[in-house]
Symmetry: C2
Subunit: 247 residues, 2 copies
Amino acid sequence: MFETVKNRRTIRKYQSKDVSSDLLNDLLKTSFRASTMGGMQLYSVIVTRDAEVKDKLSPAHFNQPMVKEAPVVLTFCADFRRFTKWCEQRKAIPGYDNLMSFMNAAMDTLLVAQTFCVLAEEIGLGICYLGTTTYNPQMIIETLHLPKLVFPVTTVTVGYPDSVPEQVDRLPFDAIVHKEMYCDYTAEDIDRMYAYKESLPENKKFIDENRKETLAQVFTDVRYTKKDNEYMSDNLLKVLRLQGFLK
Amino acid sequence: MFETVKNRRTIRKYQSKDVSSDLLNDLLKTSFRASTMGGMQLYSVIVTRDAEVKDKLSPAHFNQPMVKEAPVVLTFCADFRRFTKWCEQRKAIPGYDNLMSFMNAAMDTLLVAQTFCVLAEEIGLGICYLGTTTYNPQMIIETLHLPKLVFPVTTVTVGYPDSVPEQVDRLPFDAIVHKEMYCDYTAEDIDRMYAYKESLPENKKFIDENRKETLAQVFTDVRYTKKDNEYMSDNLLKVLRLQGFLK
């Protein structure tokens, strides 16, 4: 399994071959063994195979082709609804309509999603996370009929890999790991840690294509802009409120 | 690996045997292959082995004994500081001091944490997640000297298992998975889905010990109360603001 994780790539192109329900269910069921706060299992998974539903989900993910092309799309949702309903049926007064409870449920959800992905890759499937899920949660909520206290945290497209891309770079180990205390980065650290990434031909091409001066500007001015982030932060708070996780 | 995940238990008692740095670093490095938004790797990991630091971290985790007893304590942090510093050194104007960016970084962080845990269990280590991390983030921030745009998301204690507990229950598969649309739960669904959990002798004992009428009341009145959740939600917003992720 180490080798699978070491050699993994995100897969965005899938064969038309289907992923059987038996296999998918076995992967999901196994992933539900992941750690969960207080044994509460604060998540739900919506399985999308239907082409019409994929068409409706697609714009929420900025029409990335994986949504329509992958045989299976999984929307992993933070879910305090099931647990809250149980409490209400058992003379218990639930108090999970708040941000801390959302965070707890979102954490549970992501541990399951990642366990699923590691298992799926081990048996030869390819996956892609769609970070767009929290950019347009309202569209996903409407399409999948998510009620209050349910919130889409992440989406994973799943299928057998068609083309396998080059593996992408990672920062040096010491850029990520700190011993005992956080060791803040000097200007020299930053130069050294990002040197390899900046040296890659594909990233140089990326700068040219976007008519920028530095790779960092491609991120700040094109891919993940302050304006978009601020808009989406406001939206996130708004939709958390609509779904009952904020007052 | 399927068998490892299927048979996993959270491990709270560890042998005194150390976890070698070589092994730990190999596990961490491999886990950094997990999916990450835009290749940004928005996380840092603080490795705690020092007994004094563990003593200081312990109260933040309500003095759960694993913090002092595990050979290794890992604090997984959402980190937009490194990336922001890089932007600032490259004539790029970062816009990551907001909630959406925190969420993106927290998601990256949790995917790495869970990849680490699956790998660690596969080679025979035991792990325990400490959900207390986001309950008392300020104490952890101070102890580990976390600067702005760094936020502790979760903590994992790691060591060789001493005693291996019974495996805990999980809800039925159809309680978690929805086909195409969220299928809301009827009262009968809830009764059926929670029946096994409620039937367990350890849970009946739990009700008695806490002098409650139902298992759900143990959760709402003792373990995860509305009052605590609301206090911690306010605190979470406060500390997110202090760390620069909210205005």
